[in-house]
């Protein structure tokens, strides 16, 4: 069921309990987790934090903790499958789910006792009404006309005679039931066809903190990062982003206003969040402007930097801005103050000339003291890089803790480390995009585009991770749409596959919807993957919380793809 009063129905319940906090490995979930941890800290709630990377993980975590815990809080996992069916919990286990995955499984929606969904009702959920999808068991079973249905079993020893009308009614009822079932299938098909994401978990939890009047600037910042994660990883529509930004901006003004009457001076450990209309250049304040332009998807695609022509255009662009190359290529921090002063305006002006009208975007920045300034997207990139670090001795658990740590302002060291990793990752992505485009690795399969990263491709290990591969896939599709002349191909979705586990000989497969300004970001690949796997009995693992990300045996790749093509044609 949906929780209507998050304070009464969630917080007041768990505040007196020991809580198992199961958190999915992604940035928004981490941020929600940080806020919740802070609240639990305030009220001295005992909790155990368990990172989970997929359904199997979630199942194991539940098994390990079901003895000691009654309350389970699931962040960004659990909403989109029948949780009780999956976990088979005892009747006294209660699950509080704060998850952006849509559609929410209907059983979760209509379970009133064990599944509590912390999901904002103003999200466009479109859940089918109860009567359309559920009927009392008894009614449903009434149509098995006993022995006759199963030919070949021994006749019954005794038989009752029903009214004539009874028989007719039974037939009528069977017909009605069949119709109802057909309609139910249709409704569920429509409802479950597309996968998409709802309001950021961090924002939902932040609102809880606000309702409890326990919200702090740190919490607000985490909520901002949660939302920005949805933008960076392209999970929500632009409209949704702008709306949610507005919500958060009101909170930011409130907090800033509150601080005004205190002393105005910035101290070294003071935190200040500001709404900014900043550049769509990744990490530029921690990089050189030049490198940021080269490694940001927006600029790279617009210039087509993978081509000689594009490189030339970039040079022209820089010249147009009148910025000396020396300045542009040195560390942003060390640029002349005079250059920096109206840098954004200069860049925007030239960008407009070069067809990049959307170079600026509404976002937030944070100042920690005087020295440290970060844009929300910087933190998202850094945290993602830490979370999916492929350094040798890092276990997923370590990575989770490191990523969580870098969100604390006492841990700027780690954040800077993350930023360095993120730079490497962005460069790897850009290089891979360039080589895929230049060597025509993106093939049109008819109903979709397909790209397979061969084993041995540089940085291929990085792309065995879901978030990195998602980012690559999005950037790749944007670049492809810019580079191809085939109009039909511009409208196609993209499937990318990359080696995942060399020993087990599996690949990670991921599909994204077509690229367009007005895209609703709804993804139909989840269902399609399931169906294709089923019809070819391919050995697949649908373990990721996003159904559009699966693991597949390398040998089964061809038949799986063939089935997908047939299915979607």
């Amino acid at each position: 069921m949906f929780i209507t009063d998050i304070r009464k129905e969630f917080y007041d319940v768990v505040v007196n309990q020991r809580v198992a906090l199961l958190v999915s490995s992604e940035i928004d979930a981490l941020c929600a987790c940080k806020i919740l941890q802070a609240l639990f800290h305030c009220d001295q709630v005992q909790y155990t934090l368990v990172p989970v990377t997929g359904w199997q993980d979630l199942g194991t975590a539940f098994l390990e903790h079901k003895e000691q815990f009654r309350c389970f809080v699931l962040i960004n996992c659990g909403a989109n499958v029948d949780l009780l069916e999956t976990l088979q919990p005892e009747e006294d286990s209660i699950f509080f789910i704060c998850d952006t995955h849509r559609p929410v499984d209907v059983v979760n929606v209509y379970n009133d006792t064990q599944v509590k969904l912390m999901i904002k009702q103003d999200d466009d959920l479109g859940v089918p009404s109860y009567d359309d999808i559920f009927r009392d068991e008894e009614e449903e079973g009434g149509n098995d006309s006993g022995n006759e249905s199963d030919g070949g079993s021994e006749p019954s020893g005794k038989r009752r005679r029903y009214d004539e009308g009874e028989v007719e009614r039974r037939i009528e009822r069977q017909r009605a039931t069949r119709e109802w079932e057909a309609r139910r299938r249709e409704i569920l098909f429509d409802y479950e066809q597309y996968e998409y994401h709802g309001t950021s978990a961090a924002m939902v939890i932040f609102e809880l903190a606000w309702v409890l009047t326990k919200d702090t600037k740190d919490m607000l910042w985490w909520a901002i990062i949660g939302l920005t994660d949805q933008l960076v990883h392209d999970k929500i529509t632009h409209m949704k982003y702008v709306t949610d930004i507005a919500t958060l901006q009101r909170h930011v003004s409130r907090h800033n206003h509150r601080n005004e009457d205190e002393d105005n001076s910035l101290s070294i450990d003071c935190m200040r969040i500001s709404f900014e209309y900043d550049l769509r250049l990744a990490l530029y304040q921690h990089w050189s402007l030049f490198e940021s332009i080269c490694n940001s998807s927006y600029t790279s695609c617009n210039f087509k930097l993978w081509s000689m022509h594009g490189q030339k255009k970039l040079q022209e662009f820089l010249a147009d801005m009148g910025l000396p190359l020396k300045q542009v290529k040195q560390k942003f921090n060390s640029m002349d103050m005079s250059v920096k002063e109206n840098l954004r305006e200069v860049i925007e002006e030239s960008s407009n000339k070069y067809g990049m009208k959307d170079i600026r975007i509404q976002t937030f920045g944070v100042h920690f003291g005087f020295k440290n300034h970060f844009l929300a997207s910087d933190v998202v990139h850094a945290t993602a890089a830490l979370l999916e670090s492929t350094e040798k001795d890092d276990s997923p658990g370590d990575n989770f803790i490191k990523a969580l740590d870098c969100l604390s302002r006492s841990n700027l060291e780690r954040l800077h480390g993350g930023i360095d990793l993120a730079k490497k990752k962005l460069m790897a992505i850009q290089q891979t995009v360039a080589s895929c485009i230049c060597t025509n690795l993106i093939l049109s399969q008819g109903p979709f585009l397909y790209c397979y990263l061969l084993e041995g491709t540089p940085d291929v290990k990085l792309f065995s991770k879901p978030m990195a591969l998602t980012l690559l896939c999005k950037y790749l599709l944007k670049a492809f749409v810019r580079s191809t002349r085939n109009k039909r191909c511009k409208l196609l979705p993209l499937i990318i596959a990359a080696p995942m586990d060399v020993e087990k000989r599996t690949v990670i497969v991921l599909g994204i919807p077509p690229e367009s300004e007005t895209s609703d970001k709804k993804n139909f690949f989840g269902r399609a993957f399931e169906k294709a796997a089923e019809s070819t009995s391919s050995r697949t693992l649908h373990d990721h919380f996003d159904t559009s990300i699966i693991e597949l045996k390398m040998e089964d790749r061809t038949k799986f793809l063939d089935a997908l093509i047939t299915l979607l044609s």
Binding site: E138, G142, G151, G152, K158, R160, G165
Partner: protein, 526 residues
């Protein structure tokens, strides 16, 4: 029940005949039948529960189709008052109301009606000279008798049996049909009431209904009801139905077997399966009927699952009988239907077919030869490899019986058909009785191998398909018989390094291909 127990019963049921193989022939195990019945009772029970729906009176569908009739439901008390009135019309209305209550799908108030003492009244109405009230009362009593044993008892104790038998030959077909139905419910309760129905003389009037030149003149429902009731008169054991009645019924069953309604056919076949599920003299009564077996064989190939299942059961029961009875089945060409049955999409059919074959391979070697000639051995090996577990178990019996009663030549053929690997694979089962049966088969195969001096090759084949490892592992089996049997196999055929060395000698590996069926080498070479 434990597997051991089941198999104990199974061992007792072996048909008695001259040689060892006799022990391997098995009667259909009683417990299985009992289980089936229990399951069936479950089904009925379930069916009643499941059929419940929104109260009929409040169902909108009900309103739609029924609003022309009086929608008001009587209470049991009102009915009681009604039947006790002196006015026939009131009695009729009350009886009809009772019938309606008992005919609704949801929770018919059977016990309530019984405890209100309505049964004697209803039985009395059966004897009135008013067809409408006879009909309503018969229907109501039918539905009461359709319930639990206690509820059926209440009807019998009310003296309903003779009253119904009188109505069987009522000039009104609908009343006759209802009486037949009611008697079917009573006889279907078990052997006690079945024999009471027979003792009261139900058989003759029932059969007389069918003594018409053309069965197809009946409405299909009527004929189905009579057939079903007759089948209930043949049903249940301990004791089996009286011989005289059976003798009386069989000719009619033979006639029904040539009718073309599939439900009539199904019930007729079930009736025959009950009659053949017993000692050899009972089987004999059915086997001797002219044309019956060949008709059954025809039905085996009808593709209609509701008919194939019981006709296969009859055939299966027949071959549990004597060699002569088995031969009668073979003479009718039954084996030609088995390729389809062994590959049937329903695993239950595969299982029953394998069970039937296991009893044929327990017969004469000429009968085993018939199975070989019908091309069934490769299919049996297939079933052994891919069938569901119950089917595999039956196939194991078929193989073991084959190796025990077959000639050396026949056993060689079996090995050439690659039986060893799937057979040995099943040694990993948990059921120790099945393991013993498999070890028996292996021993028998070795005996044949010894006779032609090919035991070493057998050793190699068994080792190659991983069978030796399995047999070795069985030496630590908890069941002592398994341990002993595997130990004796190992000691006899697999000990001694020299022998193993011979096994891997190159010249032997070169003609290792001789094991394949395709090779048309001397028959006495594996």
């Amino acid at each position: 029940m434990s597997a051991g127990n089941e198999n104990g019963v199974r061992m007792d049921k072996f048909k008695n005949k001259g040689k060892d193989a006799n022990e391997l022939r098995r009667r259909r195990v009683e417990v299985n039948v009992e289980l089936r019945k229990a399951k069936k009772d479950d089904q009925i029970f379930k069916r009643r529960n499941v059929n419940t729906l929104v109260d009929e009176a409040t169902s909108p569908l009900h309103e739609k189709s029924q609003n022309c009739q009086a929608p008001r439901q009587w209470s049991v008390e009102e009915i009681l008052a009604g039947v006790n009135s002196n006015n026939l019309d009131v009695q009729l209305n009350a009886t009809q109301a009772a019938r309606k209550l008992l005919s609704r799908e949801r929770h018919p108030p059977i016990d309530h009606i019984i405890s209100a003492g309505l049964i004697p009244k209803l039985v009395a109405f059966l004897g009135l000279e008013s067809p409408p009230i006879q009909f309503e009362a018969a229907w109501a009593l039918t539905n009461i008798a359709s319930g639990t044993s206690d509820q059926t008892s209440a009807v019998v104790e009310g003296g309903a049996i003779p009253a119904f038998i009188r109505l069987v030959i009522s000039p009104h077909p609908h009343i006759s049909e209802q009486a037949v139905w009611a008697l079917g419910n009573i006889a279907g309760d078990g052997s006690v009431y079945r024999d009471q129905v027979i003792k009261h003389g139900a058989v003759a009037p029932l059969l007389s209904l069918l003594a018409v030149p053309e069965l197809s003149l009946f409405s299909s429902g009527y004929l189905r009801n009579i057939t079903w009731t007759v089948s209930n008169l043949c049903r249940n054991k301990h004791p089996s139905p009286p011989l005289a009645a059976v003798q009386q019924i069989i000719p009619t069953l033979v006639r029904l077997l040539h009718h073309d309604d599939k439900e009539v056919l199904a019930d007729t076949c079930w009736a025959l399966s009950y009659l053949t599920d017993g000692p050899n003299d009972r089987i004999e009564m059915v086997v001797v009927q002219t044309g019956l077996i060949s008709r059954l064989v025809q039905l085996l190939g009808s593709g209609e699952i509701s008919v194939v299942t019981p006709s296969l059961r009859v055939i299966g029961n027949m071959v549990t009988g004597t060699d002569e009875q088995t031969q009668a089945v073979l003479n009718a060409g039954a084996l030609s239907m088995f390729p389809g049955l062994l590959r049937h999409h329903k695993s239950n059919i595969q299982k029953e077919a394998s069970w039937t074959l296991s009893n044929i391979t327990a017969g004469r070697d000429s009968q085993i030869q018939d199975i070989i000639n019908a091309g069934l051995v490769p299919l049996m090996v297939d079933v052994l490899r891919k069938g569901d577990y119950k089917t595999q178990k039956e196939a194991v019996w078929a193989i073991t019986n084959f190796t025990s009663g077959g000639t050396v030549e026949q056993v060689v053929y079996l090995v050439q058909a690659n039986v060893l690997e799937p057979l040995l694979n099943l040694l990993s089962t948990k059921d120790s009785k099945t393991i013993l049966v498999i070890l028996d088969a292996i021993t028998n195969i070795f005996l044949a191998g010894d006779k032609i001096g090919e035991a070493d090759k057998l050793c190699m084949m068994i080792e190659e398909c991983g069978g030796l490892d399995k047999i070795e592992a069985l030496q630590s089996h908890e069941n002592e018989l398994v341990y002993k049997a595997s130990l004796s196999l190992i000691e006899k055929y697999f000990s001694g390094e020299e022998e193993e060395d011979q096994c891997v000698a190159p010249e032997l590996t070169t003609d290792g291909y001789a094991f394949q069926i395709s090779e048309n080498q001397s028959t006495f070479n594996f």
